[in-house]
Amino acid sequence: MSLRKIFLVFLKIGTLSFGGVYSMVAFFERELVEKRKWITHDEFMESFAIGQMTPGPPIVNTGICIGYKLRRLGGALAATCGQAFTGTILAILLAAFYLHMKDNPLLQAVMKGVGAAVVGLLGSIIYKMAARMITEYRSALLALGAFMALDLFKLNPITIILGAGVLGLALYWRE
């Protein structure tokens, strides 16, 4: 399978999948497992697991992993470029438009509504993440500690993340 084909399939996935993680995952599976049979269902699930347990956006990582399984490093690059292509172009166009129209009252009015919706959206993401990740007292303490470290003590998030990793080692030692 050629790199061009990998690029094109991931271009399709990156262009036609909007929003939520789960709609993208379903789309991946349909295109790569069911339609093209490039990878098996088990390979897909393994890629998805790797995407979740590595740093960075899980969906991007899943795509990189699949590309790598197909054609090593070249495949990983082709998958990444394909997946990011349309969104990046659109984001650049929107950024140019946004900067050009910044003082336009209509755009400002639109963005006032949008900004409030983003706050609600982030609230919902936090709620869902908390329901999934905060399962007992240790994780609750870590979440609370990170919240206070940023909100009250204004520590650098990088320090907080590294600190949480070290605390994780201590709290979940050899489990």
């Binding site: 909007f18 929003g19 939520g20 993680v21 890629s47 590595t54 740093p55 960075g56 990189i64 992993c65 790598y68 997946q83 990011a84 969104g87 990046t88 984001a91 950024a95 140019a96 009252p105 209509l106 009015a109 639109v110 963005m111 006032k112 509504g113 949008v114 900004g115 409030a116 983003v118 706050v119 609600g120 959206l121 982030l122 609230g123 919902s124 993401i125 936090i126 869902k128 993440m129 990740m133 905060i134 994780s139 870590l142 979440a143 609370l144 990170a146 919240f147 940023l150 909100d151 650098n156 990088i158 907080i160 993340i161 949480a164 070290v166 994780g168 080692l169 979940y172 050899r174 489990e175």
Partner: protein
Amino acid sequence: MNLLRLAFVLFVANGLTIGGGYAMIPLLQREFVDHYHWLTNKEFIDAIAIGQVTPGPLTVMNAFMGFKIGGLAGALIAMAASYLPCIIIVTIVTNYYLRYKELWVVKAGFAGIKPAMVGLLAAVLFFLSTGSVINPVTKGIAVVSFAVLTFTKLDPSFIIIGAGILGAVVFR
């Protein structure tokens, strides 16, 4: 120099955060808005909205911010710096997946980082909401979008577009 800093921040943010595309938001907010003042809080929120309504992963918002900071070169550098750590880490892990999966050090470290991400994101939401949830209408939009996204399976893009239309009607 700014472009180099931009690349560094994004490289670190993508290499360190685990738990979904949203997990990088606290780190980016601190560096882009509070530290370097490349964007205002409001522009940062707008970037998140752009990342959400454009197809593909949320990471696309980094291209938007990169463009604001350094034009076309900024956008391209932003995307490269965001994806580079992922490519390096994922290709290595894919090779050693079975061994990596069993590594208790990795598991325990991430078990600490994942809940911390929830706390960080919650703290950042406080900073972000002060500028954009300011009156009864914006409060209403925030509450409704929270409820719709939490309790239905509607795509977030529709909520953002709907809120934009509502904003145009109400605030003009």
